[in-house]
Amino acid sequence: MKYAYIIDNVQESENVNTIAFSSDDDIKPGQFIMAWVPGINEIPLSFSSINKIKKITVKIYGEASEHVAHLKRGDYLYYSGPYGKPFTIVPGKKLLIGAGTGIAPLIPIIDGNTYGIISGKSKKDIIFENHFKDRLKIVTDDGSCGMKGYVTTALKTVDLDKFDMLYVCGPEIMLKSVFDYIKNINVNAQFSLERSMKCGIGLCDSCSINGYQVCTDGPVFSVDQLKNMDEFGRTKLQYSGKRVYF
């Protein structure tokens, strides 16, 4: 188990914090760690910054994420990893599409030629909008920020032909809607999937989708890979291993 000394904690929104620590791990965008909260749980988390100073942006869902989100300067983060196959970074024009905190792991991809779409339920879910200057569209369910509508509402306003690669991250339902929107368009895209994970090293079968392990074969998959996965956007696994439908 590795451990890192927390040097900073910034609140991004009501229930989202970014913790910072320094580590020599070589992280590529899209990779993740298994963060261990002793006595509570162990959860997968990806990086919103991958320089010498690493950052993780955490949304509070339950006990473990709450604990990590509240780590303060001087506390330790225990973890193993990094794990998973990273995004393939292409030269050229890139569009980052993130739902809520899903934008966080896409931030390290940003260069001089990146555009963004951030979607969310409402204004309070939108974070990291300042990383994009004016190259950004925001869309919220309730219209409290940016356009009103879903991620596809925003996609319709964009000329996807002009992009060399789309990078998409968010809940599987949102990924699926983007996937369905683009699958018949000639545009390249990579999707980062989220499934429940118990091990992170490809042994426990709890994160599997059509025989692939999201923790080791993913979390990043290409359009072509997803085309062959009929479980994508349709089923997920319980902690028991039982398959249930969305």
Binding site: M1, W36, Y78, M197, L203, S206, G241
Partner: protein, 311 residues
Amino acid sequence: MILWILKINKSDNMNINTDIGIKLENPFMLASGILDENGYTMERILNNGASSAVTKSIGIDERKGFDPPVIYHDENYVINAIGLSNPGIGSFKDEIEIALRSGKPVIGSIFGKDAEEFSLLAKKMESYKVSAIELNLSCPHVNGYGLEVGSDPDLVSEIVSEVKSKVSIPVFSKLSPNTSDIIEEAKAADKSDALVLINTVKAMKIDIHARKPVLSNVYGGLSGRSIKPVGVRYVYEIKKELNKKIIGVGGIENIDDAIEYIMAGASAVQIGSVIYKYGINIFNKLNNDLNEFFIKNDINDIKDIIGVAIK
């Protein structure tokens, strides 16, 4: 040039099929509990070099298992305490159906607290069309503190007899090394068609910076490279003493490890933890390396080396 042709021919005549009560096209099976809770995953592994898959151990009811961390690993070993998580026998039919699309045999691993539960599970598995049953005897013993079902010879023998009388497919007993007298345990399981050796060794990991046990269950089972010398020993000793059919498992990382188990007396081997190092591609690699080993060492048939080290 002629030599080269001979080699090719030889490779064609080489026999790596093996028989453990069911016929396997190669000796490399997927071990229970590793990537075999899900039909699609099993199907994929069976399509990529494994000759058969043993399912995750399935019980009567759905079980969530322990909270993570359930697995700790370093470069030499894995320690797991999954807590017998499984979807329950009721919903496992679908998974086996998917796995069977590969055309390869699936072996149903089951765990229970008594002969009755084991029998019920075995019958269900048989009805799902598995080719054999593997009894996981390392589950907790209801009456014995910290003990496993497998360390109670009477219970083992009752479970094996009961299950044998209820199903017509072969029955394997998987034994645990956490016992003082494995020969006695093996004798108790004598009615099984084959013995599977070994399950994990009791172990734990403490993180010295957090000052806490890493696994939520504190204790877990050790697997991977570290346990190979223990597994080989049990295979050898039981083959020598009882001359039963044996399936070897524990710490196999490469072809040399597999051959060591086979020479100790295993007719087939199961591959588990090493997948965290090399992914499921390990099965294709083992097949290639076995062929190469046979050619280099002038071996024509796997039967010729099973148990050859026993003296």
